[in-house]
């Protein structure tokens, strides 16, 4: 966020007010959707996700330990 928009940064309005969505927005949305789809696929496949590295998750052979807790005075 920064200073409020200056005239040069505000796109000109058409009479119909139908300024098309900029190309950079369309491209970014496509890339973001692909990334999200990839992430969801990884989550569904079980190859990714929070706590996967916990000693109790079975993914860390050779180590053992108790459950986890935030450090003392951690985020509430």
């Amino acid at each position: 966020m920064a200073d409020p928009p200056r005239p040069a940064q505000v796109p000109p309005r058409t009479e119909a007010g139908s300024t098309p969505m900029p190309r950079w927005v369309k491209l970014s949305v496509i890339v973001a959707l692909l990334a999200i789809a990839l992430l969801v696929a990884m989550l569904l496949a079980g190859g990714h996700g929070p706590g996967r590295h916990s000693p109790n998750s079975g993914t860390s052979p050779g180590v053992s330990g108790g459950g986890h807790a935030p450090p003392v005075g951690g985020h509430g």
Binding site: M1, P5, G51, R52, H53, S54, P55, H68, P71, H75
Partner: protein
């Protein structure tokens, strides 16, 4: 409500400071992740994993929330608005997404810290998952750099909502700033 210029500059200072601080903290996290990933010294790897969790809770999380909150204040308190410009929306989505993933990832960090405290801990036991903190930190770093680029370049593009409001309420149109 539009903030008067002195308040706006103060809010902007807070937002830039917390956002850059977050970026810096993530950079440190990349270093910790790489050390934990490549070091052959068990004590060094153990130390890296142990320090990650408090670093996340006491640096990353507070800075992330401060950046999000100050960004909301900046957008709602200026004529930029929250949903008028695509770049503002993108920054908001990046920020919220990063905060959510960060909070979820603290579980993983807690697991790594637990593992590192056990006497039988060996870095090799984690296998390819040793790369996880580095990968997550690098992705976070890229997203925050992207957010910074958006904030600096402010690519053009107003949303349909903004155009509709401009037509219906001319008084809401963004006004140029008098410096």
């Amino acid at each position: 409500m539009i903030m008067p210029p002195p308040v706006r500059r103060l809010a902007l200072t807070v937002h830039v400071t917390t956002s850059v601080g977050w970026l810096g903290a993530v950079s440190v996290f990349v270093v910790l992740g790489v050390v934990g990933m490549v070091s052959q010294d068990t004590d060094v790897v153990r130390a890296a994993y142990l320090i990650m969790e408090p670093t996340a809770w006491y640096a990353l999380v507070p800075l992330a929330f401060a950046s999000l909150a100050s960004g909301l204040v900046q957008s709602l308190g200026t004529t930029w608005g929250l949903v008028r410009h695509y770049w503002v929306i993108f920054k908001l989505v990046i920020n919220i997404g990063a905060v959510v993933v960060l909070l979820m990832y603290t579980q993983t960090l807690a697991g790594l810290a637990d593992a590192a405290t056990t006497p039988a801990f060996t870095p090799e036991a984690l296998g390819p998952q040793r790369a996880s903190p580095t990968i997550h930190a690098v992705v976070a770093l890229l997203l925050l750099v992207l957010a910074t680029i958006l904030a600096i370049y402010k690519p053009r593009g107003t949303t349909r909502f903004a155009r509709r409001r401009q037509r219906s309420t001319p008084a809401d149109r963004p006004e140029p700033v008098r410096s």
